[in-house]
């Protein structure tokens, strides 16, 4: 058994530009999907928690349908269906849209759970002092719900990075597809899949750390300031 470590190292160096480019694509498509999916998911989650039936039902249907579909099917369907639907998308665009839709369905459930975990008195107290519903959301409910939702949201964000590997199937040159391209030249399957795994682990590890930092930060923000 020969792991050809020196060849592996020289191949990493030779392909460092491609690898960095791939990692950057992974990070940017994930970030795009997480950001847009979080906004969309918060709106849908709000509808799930507070809207009346005509709005709540479509929201529930959206979440259940998307969550019942494998992400890979979502990615393939978005990519292939965009053309006959009259809105042709590049692989990157299709991938970002699919991940955004997927992310939104997760965030919606997380956000609904967080909002519903807040005591109902919070909403009533906001009403009692004459705040409008959007202001109650902004000043009363969201800051508290954000703290509750943070740990699960971070897990969901890491799931998005993992799901972005599926874009390799429609030809987005993210980290995994890049690794496969490099492998097709040097046949170092074991080594480069291992490297890809290590990079994904590192990215998700950073997200985890960031989440821990944000949780601490938000915790501080929610506490009353001590008198000076």
């Amino acid at each position: 058994m020969d792991l050809e470590l020196s060849y592996f190292l020289s191949e990493i160096v030779a392909n460092r530009g491609m690898l960095l480019q791939g990692a950057w694509t992974t990070v940017s498509v994930s970030a795009l999907a997480i950001a847009s999916g979080t906004l969309l998911g918060m709106l849908i989650g709000l509808a799930l928690a507070y809207a009346s039936a005509p709005l709540r039902w479509p929201a529930r249907l959206y979440v259940d349908l998307i969550r019942g579909t494998p992400v890979l099917v979502l990615v393939l369907a978005t990519y292939y269906m965009s053309t006959p639907l009259g809105l042709p998308l590049t692989p990157f665009q299709a991938g970002a849209v699919a991940l955004c839709l997927f992310c939104a369905s997760h965030v919606a459930e997380i956000w609904r759970g967080a909002l519903q975990a807040l005591p109902i008195g919070q909403l009533e107290a906001g009403r009692a002092i004459g705040l409008t519903f959007p202001r109650i959301c902004l000043y009363v409910l969201f800051p508290q719900a954000m703290r509750l939702a943070m740990p699960t949201w971070v897990t969901a964000a890491a799931e998005m990075v993992k799901a972005s590997t599926l874009l390799s199937v429609i030809g987005v040159a993210e980290l995994l597809l890049t690794s496969q391209q490099i492998i097709s030249n040097n046949f170092l399957n074991l080594q480069f899949y291992f490297l890809a795994g290590a990079i994904y682990f590192a990215i998700n590890f950073c997200i985890d750390m960031l989440g821990k930092y944000l949780s601490r930060h938000l915790e501080g923000a929610g506490k009353p300031r001590s008198p000076v």
Partner: protein, 218 residues
């Protein structure tokens, strides 16, 4: 949009789609069974007293849960043969999904174990049951009931992951969907029917597991 629907190619391949769905379910059930047994052992390690075993369980979970399943699949199918460990497509996939399931099930069972009130183990000790008997007759049944909802969620999730087997050409549902898609170009039809099949199956699985859960509720 001037697209005329034509489901004929999809209905013609209906048996293939169902066959693919059945294979996916089979892969999921097998992997989840293996993963659950491993997860159970790791969960007992994670909640046990032995520091080395605890570190092993936590290390395993945090590494595997931060890896994309597709990378694990490709690593096993394309990478391991370099070490002389070659498996066929389906075996590779079951191996990958089992490793993945083990990490998730460890978390499911660990949370379940933490939810078992310590008092009932002590009651078992007090009547003279041995530690092993307490685990088997008291802790395990209570833990499994605690863990049912999370187990059901992960079951559905892992079933959906069987779609990735298409990446190494295991002929499950997504594989056939892609095949019909490229042969017939009935894009909307193929993908809507495929998604509907997955959605319906996920729904049935959660219905089934929820029924089981309510029958077992304490």
């Amino acid at each position: 949009m001037n697209y005329t629907f034509n489901f004929t190619p999809v209905w013609q391949n209906w048996p293939l789609l169902l066959e693919g769905l059945a294979l996916g379910l089979g892969l999921a059930v097998l992997s989840i069974a293996i993963g659950s047994i491993a997860g159970l052992v790791l969960a007992f390690c994670a909640t046990g007293k032995h520091p080395a075993l605890r570190a092993l369980a936590f290390g395993y979970v945090s590494i595997v849960r931060n890896l994309p399943i597709l990378v694990i699949v490709l690593f096993i199918f394309f990478g391991l043969p370099q070490l002389g460990l070659a498996f066929d497509k389906s075996t590779s996939f079951v191996l990958a999904l089992s490793l993945y399931a083990a990490a998730y099930m460890t978390e499911v069972f660990r949370a379940g174990l933490l939810g078992v009130p310590p008092g009932i183990s002590e009651a078992g000790q007090a009547i003279g049951l041995t530690p092993l008997s307490i685990k088997y007759y008291v802790v395990l049944p209570v833990m499994l009931r605690n863990a049912m909802p999370a187990f059901a969620n992960n079951f559905v999730s892992l079933f959906k992951d069987t779609s990735l087997a298409a990446a190494i050409a295991v002929p499950e549902l997504t594989f056939y969907a892609q095949k019909i898609n490229s042969e017939s170009f009935r894009v909307l039809e193929v993908w809507s029917v495929t998604a509907a099949l997955y959605i319906a199956t996920c729904y049935l699985i959660s219905l089934l597991l929820r029924g089981l859960e309510s029958r077992l509720r304490l």
